[in-house]
């Protein structure tokens, strides 16, 4: 509890960022994000954009898995749907990117809802495996519906363009990614201040009693799938504009696992968790690369980098689940509490 933060009204108590310090830090962060592209190298900008895409997708998954309790291993496939939507629209209609992105979200949403239908009968881990099935079926469609998806070779995408400027470099794309990521994350945070978010959590905690309390399971499970895959679709659309080549192999099951790992490591069922997890998991390989660079025999060690990366990926999942099940978000909260109370530590 923040010292001296007595609330004057219920409205103030319901606010998202309730203390002044919080708002100040938020401002600092915003300024830093605006300055970043002018000082960071191309590579770091590239990573930042990637982080943005991953944050959107992870936040989407967090809504479904972290908040609604429906484990999904289909997030990457839904991203694929979004990416293909963008690529196909770009190729056939040449619609502006903004419309393409919304369509990407929309189509992914529809597909997500179809995949969500079994969730009414199929529970828990059975559902998780059903989503694996869905992602393989989608992969099949990507690879074999040649007239639309270009088969295994996939499709290429022209750069997005805004006011006649082609967003073809990291620097330019950044100005699309950043605000979009912020808006999507804020939207998710808002969701959980209202009845819809509460209904999701209720379904996660005890779905059968939720129904008797007036929450239609059909409606809300599908809604959760819809919102979550909308996020994935938008992320996938951005992905398409970022890499500008979309193939069936671009969205492997491993990528879905990556997002799941991101929300575990970040903290399931908290918005901050999705963000921290996506940032952390995207940057861990970089950190590893740096560590490997310190070895005197760096060139020979390079061979071991990939296996070590795979292992570290697993160890992070396992380690967080065992030692810090609430993830980075919880660590962050503890740190904050410490500083708020400091020096009056109890």
């Amino acid at each position: 509890m923040r010292i001296g933060a007595a609330k004057q009204s219920y409205a103030a108590d319901e606010a998202l960022f309730d203390s002044r310090t919080q708002r100040i830090w938020l401002g600092v962060l915003a300024v830093a994000l605006v300055v970043l592209p002018f000082v960071a190298s191309q590579y770091w900008l590239y990573l930042t954009c990637l982080v943005g895409i991953n944050i959107i997708a992870a936040t989407g998954l967090n809504i479904l898995t972290g908040y609604t309790g429906q484990v999904s291993l289909g997030q990457a496939a839904f991203m694929g749907v979004g990416a293909y939507t963008v690529a196909v629209l770009d190729k056939t209609l040449g619609t502006p990117f903004f419309i393409n992105l919304i369509a990407a979200g929309g189509v992914a949403m529809l597909v997500g809802m179809v995949v969500g239908i079994p969730s009414l009968r199929v529970k828990g881990l059975y559902l998780a495996i059903a989503t694996i099935a869905a992602s393989f079926i989608l992969h099949f469609v990507f690879a074999n519906w040649r007239s639309v998806t270009g088969g295994t070779a996939g499709l290429t995408v022209k750069p997005a363009s805004l006011f006649g400027i082609a967003l073809d470099s990291e620097f330019r794309l950044y100005w699309l990614m950043l605000p979009l990521t912020a808006v999507m994350v804020l939207g998710a945070a808002n969701l959980f201040r209202t009845r819809i978010g509460r209904a999701f959590i209720a379904i996660r905690d005890r779905d059968i009693s939720a129904e008797v309390l007036g929450i239609s399971l059909l409606r809300y499970k599908l809604l959760s799938f819809a919102i979550s895959s909308f996020y994935a679709g938008v992320a996938g659309g951005l992905w398409a504009y970022f890499f500008r080549s979309v193939t069936p192999e671009s969205f492997p099951l491993l990528m879905s696992i990556f997002f799941l790992a991101a929300i575990i490591v970040g903290g399931m069922g908290t918005i901050l968790g999705g963000i921290l997890g996506a940032v952390f998991m995207t940057l861990v390989p970089e950190a590893l690369k740096m560590v490997f660079g310190w070895f005197p025999n760096a060139a020979e060690m390079a061979v071991h980098l990939a296996p070590v990366r795979i292992m570290v990926f697993g160890i992070l999942i396992v380690g967080f689940l065992i030692f810090e099940p609430h993830g980075l978000a919880e660590i962050w909260r503890r740190v904050r509490r410490f500083f708020h109370l400091w020096p009056f530590r109890t």
């Binding site: 409205a11 319901e14 509460r198 007036g214």
Partner: protein, 274 residues
């Protein structure tokens, strides 16, 4: 007191079977508006099943349920909640990932209107609705049930008694016309039972809510009910005022037993010494 001319809830020849087991068999009774009606009966008699049927978790195999004169037998559970049927659960069913406040807010779910887009942007309507809800819950429910000190606590950390109270708060947030309580004082000691009894009486008096209750604590049931229904093997074996039911020999045989602790003590100890 028997059912008044216009019962608020009517159970009409309800039968519920699980495979071969008939949990309910032609159960009929009525609940008068503003009354406290208790359903009692041996374990496995079908009381919880009856509640589940009324709230829509089970569909009866036969029979009808009428609420406020309307036949709701075919309505899905969430709609019944919206009509004003709220309940608590025999095995506490709070949402353990939420705070007390959110649990209570959740109760109001079906009376709120925020849509997805409103929620994502949290502008005007959604915001107003949330703030109004918060005020209402604070002033009417949290104060009433004396749980203001725990409003931000996660429910998992609460003691059993408090959890039961939060369940009741959530049910009240549903703005019920009929409040169904499944064993509200099970596992409570005398003191807590008295607290709960007081809340039940107050809810009825101050809010005019009709109470339908399952309970095995005969002290409380016989004391505060207006009307008692006794189930056994899924059938109604007695139906009437507490006094009438208490004297019914069949009820005594199937359910109440001697009901006399002194006699029990003598029996136990007599045998121990023997």
């Amino acid at each position: 007191m028997t059912a008044a001319a216009n019962p608020i809830l009517e159970i009409d020849q309800v039968t519920l079977a699980f495979g071969g087991v008939k949990a309910l068999n032609g159960v009929s009774f009525e609940v008068a508006p503003g009354s406290i009606t208790s359903v009692i009966g041996p374990n496995g008699a079908g009381k919880t099943s009856l509640f589940n049927t009324i709230s829509g978790f089970y569909r009866p195999t036969a029979g009808h349920i009428r609420f406020l004169g309307e036949d709701i037998t075919q309505r899905p559970a969430p709609q019944r909640a919206k009509l004003g049927l709220a309940r608590s659960f025999q095995n506490i069913a709070l949402f353990r990932g939420m705070t007390v406040l959110d649990n209570i807010k959740l109760g109001r779910h079906c009376h709120l209107h925020t849509g997805v887009l409103d929620a994502l942007f949290y502008y005007g309507k959604a915001r107003r609705e949330e703030v109004r809800l918060r005020a209402d819950i604070e002033e009417r429910i949290i104060d009433f049930l004396e749980i203001d000190h725990i409003r931000n606590a996660p429910v998992a950390a609460l003691s059993y008694g408090l959890q039961k109270r939060v369940e009741m708060a959530r049910a009240l947030a549903m703005q019920p016309k009929v409040l169904m309580l499944d064993e509200p004082v099970a596992g409570m000691n005398r003191e807590e039972t008295e607290d709960m009894a007081r809340f039940i009486l107050d809810v009825r008096e101050e809010w005019g809510v009709t109470i339908l209750m399952v309970e095995h604590d005969m002290g409380m049931v016989m004391d505060i009910s207006d009307h008692v229904v006794v189930l056994n093997f899924g059938e109604v074996i007695a139906d009437g005022t507490p006094a009438a039911v208490q004297g019914n020999p069949e009820v005594i045989r199937a359910y109440l037993g001697s009901g006399d602790v002194e006699e029990l003590r003598r029996k136990l100890h007599g045998e121990v010494e023997a």
